[in-house]
């Protein structure tokens, strides 16, 4: 017997793997459900709703029910079952889908997600009973003259899924036979009475045809055996129950589909998708395996950089012909390596569509809660982003969208008074330019009042109560930890993610976070991210004898300038740029690197609009593909440095985090500290920031 204690270990690890799959599949079905419901919503006013959408939604619930039953998550199973029931009634035309029904489905999906997430995270499962009863209410009229089985009779054991065999069973059912699912849970007591698996199997064979047998592992890690028996013997269940077996009527899914298909026009692909949860030409890969692959590609890139270095030294030593051949091979490898890198990157890419769809749900909920009117518009949903980035950017985006609805947009009356449309608009855009992904969240609301923000920050003691500095970028104030307008007053922006977290996440991924706002016209938040995190294109610059890498994402333009083109204003150096001026910061000074001030230098223009600044370096050595290595130890985790790389000679080159560098600089300037005072003073204040953030 396989139920002895040694087997339970295996059983539970197999089960936890099974559970992991369960969560992934639930995620997919929930995503499909969200997509369907959003597509259905605009059709409510029409005379009929697209049948295939209803079918898709129905299948999602059906699968969620089946999957949840299989792992014994009764709350999820029951909830999905109720939603499926309701939808089934809608599909058959017994119930008309109207606004209350749709709202119930929407909150049903939300609750289902919460229930499943709570089980996964080991938290208290929220009570779905309110939702269950609201569904039954919707079905109340219909239930009176319906003869469907009572929904609350949830099976003690999960129905098995048989795939192709179900068709066989369906055939036999049509021929007048009956099918039962028989479940046998071995126990020492039954075994002592001589009832074991073989006994049960033989017993079943005497009663009819044994179509299927399958060992299952239940939640507690016990093995149970499920059999499907097809028989013409009406009394078979009684005979089996007498032996202590659990016996339930078995209705194959395909049979359900067939029964429903007789009532309404058949929908294509019905039977296929109910048994195959993943389309057959897709492979599911653990992200960490792709990380490994990317790391190996990174090492290849480095090796090639070393090769290139060697070639450079061979130049002039080798005969020209030989050298040319080597060079050709070298550039072929470079091209191939780039292709390989892009190939691996493409595998990691997913579209932002799912993320955007989620935002629509958030907006729906918020709009209902706050009573504002808002429409969410998308563009670029097909933009592909690294899976890791997508996952990390979810919470920041949620915050920005929530923020736009709850703070950005004005109430309708205010909007009308200002000559705007009553309904506010939030635009969510994604696009790729070169190696950069740009995500924008823009609202056409009231804009951000800089004075009000400053006043609030002062009231909370986050900003020194000195006279307001107009130049103080308002985004810096918004991103101060602990600052969040009206945060306590409404839970809408909730989940504890503030603007500071948005910026931190973006910058940790080597991106830039910026904002534009116009009083009365709206606010636009801009997130720029590198397409991939492990390898990035960077400008290699030199200051005195030190080289640094500046991610290309951050650099708008490189200018060659002379000292006589500068304007001096107190201690600030200003450079003429596109009809205006930008303040200059010398990297040598920011980093305390010794070196003479050159009359001729290069300026990297960083940031946009009023927030643009120039970073002064001695030389620009070129654009290189660099492999990003993190600087993890707290001894060297300093603001303004994002990581380390090497260019083929084994020496560490620091990768700059320019936006953070400028912010720290600005804070120091604002707090009236010289940029680099004694190293000790600067160091300890920076370190305490780091430690505080841990």
């Amino acid at each position: 017997m396989p139920t002895d204690s040694p087997s339970t270990d295996d059983g539970s690890s197999a089960f936890s793997e099974f559970l992991a799959d369960y969560y992934i599949e639930c995620d997919e079905h929930l995503a499909t459900a969200r997509r369907s419901i959003l597509a259905i919503e605009p059709q409510l006013q029409q005379s009929s709703i697209d049948r295939s959408l209803l079918d898709e939604l129905f299948r999602s619930f059906h699968s969620l029910k089946g999957l949840s039953a299989m792992v014994g998550f009764n709350e999820a199973e029951e909830l999905a079952h109720q939603l499926e029931n309701f939808l089934s009634a809608v599909r058959k035309g017994h119930v008309r889908l109207e606004v209350p029904g749709l709202e119930t489905l929407v909150s049903g999906i939300g609750t289902l997600e919460q229930v499943i997430a709570a089980r996964r995270d080991g938290e208290a499962v929220p009570d779905p009973s309110a939702l269950v009863s609201s569904v039954s209410l919707l079905l109340a009229d219909y239930a009176e003259n319906s003869n469907t089985t009572a929904p609350t009779a949830s099976a003690s054991h999960s129905p098995v899924s048989l795939g192709e065999k179900e068709k066989v069973i369906a055939e036999k059912l049509r021929a007048g036979a009956k099918a039962w699912q028989v479940t046998f849970e071995p126990s020492p007591e039954l075994v002592s009475r001589g009832i074991d698996v073989n006994f049960v199997r033989n017993k079943l064979l005497t009663l009819g045809e044994l179509v299927h047998s399958e060992p299952l592992i239940d939640v507690a890690g016990h093995i149970v055996f499920a059999f499907v028996l097809v028989s013409n013997d009406e009394r078979a269940p009684h005979k089996l129950q007498a032996e202590g077996l659990v016996c339930e009527a078995f209705l194959p899914r395909t049979a359900t589909e067939i029964l429903q298909a007789t009532a309404v026009a058949p929908a294509a692909g019905d039977s296929e998708s109910s048994t195959h949860l993943t389309p057959p030409n897709l492979v599911r890969v653990d992200l960490s395996r792709l990380d490994d692959l990317m790391r190996i590609v990174g090492e290849l890139v480095l090796s090639r950089a070393r090769l290139e270095d060697s070639f450079r030294r061979l130049n002039g030593v080798m005969p020209g012909g030989e050298m040319r051949m080597l060079q050709e091979t070298n550039s072929a490898i470079e091209r191939q390596l780039r292709d390989l890198r892009e190939g691996v990157m493409r595998v990691r890419m997913v579209s932002v569509r799912e993320v955007f769809a989620r935002m629509r749900f958030v907006v729906r909920d918020l709009v209902r809660e706050l009573g504002t009117q808002a429409t969410l518009r998308f563009s670029g949903e097909d933009t592909q982003i690294d899976k890791y980035v997508v996952e990390r950017i979810m919470d920041p985006l949620l915050h920005l969208v929530r923020n736009a609805v709850s703070h950005g947009l004005e109430p309708s009356d205010e909007r009308i008074a200002a000559g705007k449309s009553a309904v506010g608009h939030i635009d969510l855009r994604a696009r790729t330019t070169g190696e950069t992904v740009i995500i924008e969240v823009e609202d056409d609301g009231r804009g951000i009042d800089a004075e009000a923000v400053l006043a609030q920050a002062r009231a909370r003691g986050l900003v020194a109560p000195q006279p307001a500095k107009v130049s103080d970028p308002i985004l810096d104030v918004l991103c101060l930890p602990g600052f969040s307008t009206r945060e306590q007053a409404d839970r809408a922006s909730g989940r504890g993610v503030g603007m500071d977290v948005v910026r931190t996440v973006v910058e940790e991924m080597g991106g830039m976070f910026s904002m534009e706002t116009k009083q009365g016209q709206g606010t636009r938040f801009l997130i720029q991210l590198p397409l991939t995190l492990a390898i990035t294109d960077a400008l290699i610059v030199q200051v005195a004898d030190q080289r640094f890498a500046v991610p290309q994402v951050a650099v708008r333009e490189v200018l060659h300038s002379d000292s006589d083109r500068l304007t001096l204003m107190e201690k600030n150096e200003l450079l003429h740029y596109h009809g205006g001026v930008i303040p200059l910061f010398r990297l040598a000074e920011l980093f305390g690197v010794d070196g003479a001030k050159n009359d001729s230098f290069y300026t990297l223009v960083i940031g946009e609009g009023a927030q643009a600044v120039g970073l002064v370096v001695d030389r620009v050595l070129g654009l290189r593909e660099v492999v990003v290595r993190p600087l993890t130890d707290r001894l060297v985790k300093v603001p303004g440095v994002a990581g380390a790389t090497e260019l083929g000679d084994g020496k560490v080159v620091l990768i700059l985090d320019v936006s953070k560098l400028f912010r720290v600089t600005r804070q120091q300037v604002n707090s009236a500290n010289p940029i680099v005072t004694s190293l000790a003073g600067g160091t300890s204040s920076l370190i305490s920031q780091n430690v505080g953030a841990k």
Partner: protein, 155 residues
């Protein structure tokens, strides 16, 4: 800190400003010659910079600076002792390092109360090897930099 109460513990001996120190072999990942150290701006004063060790960017702690001795120019004897400790990997720059010894646990005595100076708290104990006095390093304290948070202890 000696980990076994019975038996012997292997140590690596290294020199710093004319004194011999010992560190448990167990925490030392490898020894390296030092070529180029990239300075890290705004890092603590005793951190000379970073180097790559097995593809990983590792901070270099100048042990002379850490203990308050004057810095010296690196030469052929200078070694980077890469220690892996509590999930961190840090290089310690020392004047030289050559010998392995084993010490019975009871040979390591607690440092005398009267030992003062900056390096006092970095000691796990003191051992006598033949006629030499060897200071056993407390790696945890060396890598810790909580003391930096009080500005007086820097410089």
């Amino acid at each position: 800190m000696p980990s076994e109460s019975s038996g012997v513990t292997p140590f690596i001996l290294f020199e710093l400003a004319g004194t011999t120190y010992a560190v448990e072999t167990q925490v030392v990942q490898q020894m390296e010659m030092v070529e180029h150290i990239t300075p890290v701006p705004n890092a603590p004063a005793f951190v000379d910079g970073v180097v790559f060790v097995r593809g990983q960017a590792v901070p270099v702690v100048n042990l002379r600076a850490r203990f308050g001795f004057p810095r010296i120019v690196s030469d052929a004897k200078t070694r980077l002792m890469v220690v892996a400790y509590e999930g961190r990997t840090v290089g310690l720059l020392v004047d030289s390092a050559r010998e392995f010894i084993t010490l019975p646990a009871e040979a390591v005595k607690p440092p005398p109360e009267a030992v003062t100076g900056l390096s006092g708290k970095y000691l796990a104990g003191i051992a006598t090897v033949g006629d030499r006095v060897v200071l056993v390093l407390e790696v945890h304290e060396v890598l810790n930099f909580q003391d930096l948070l009080s500005p007086t202890s820097v410089n």
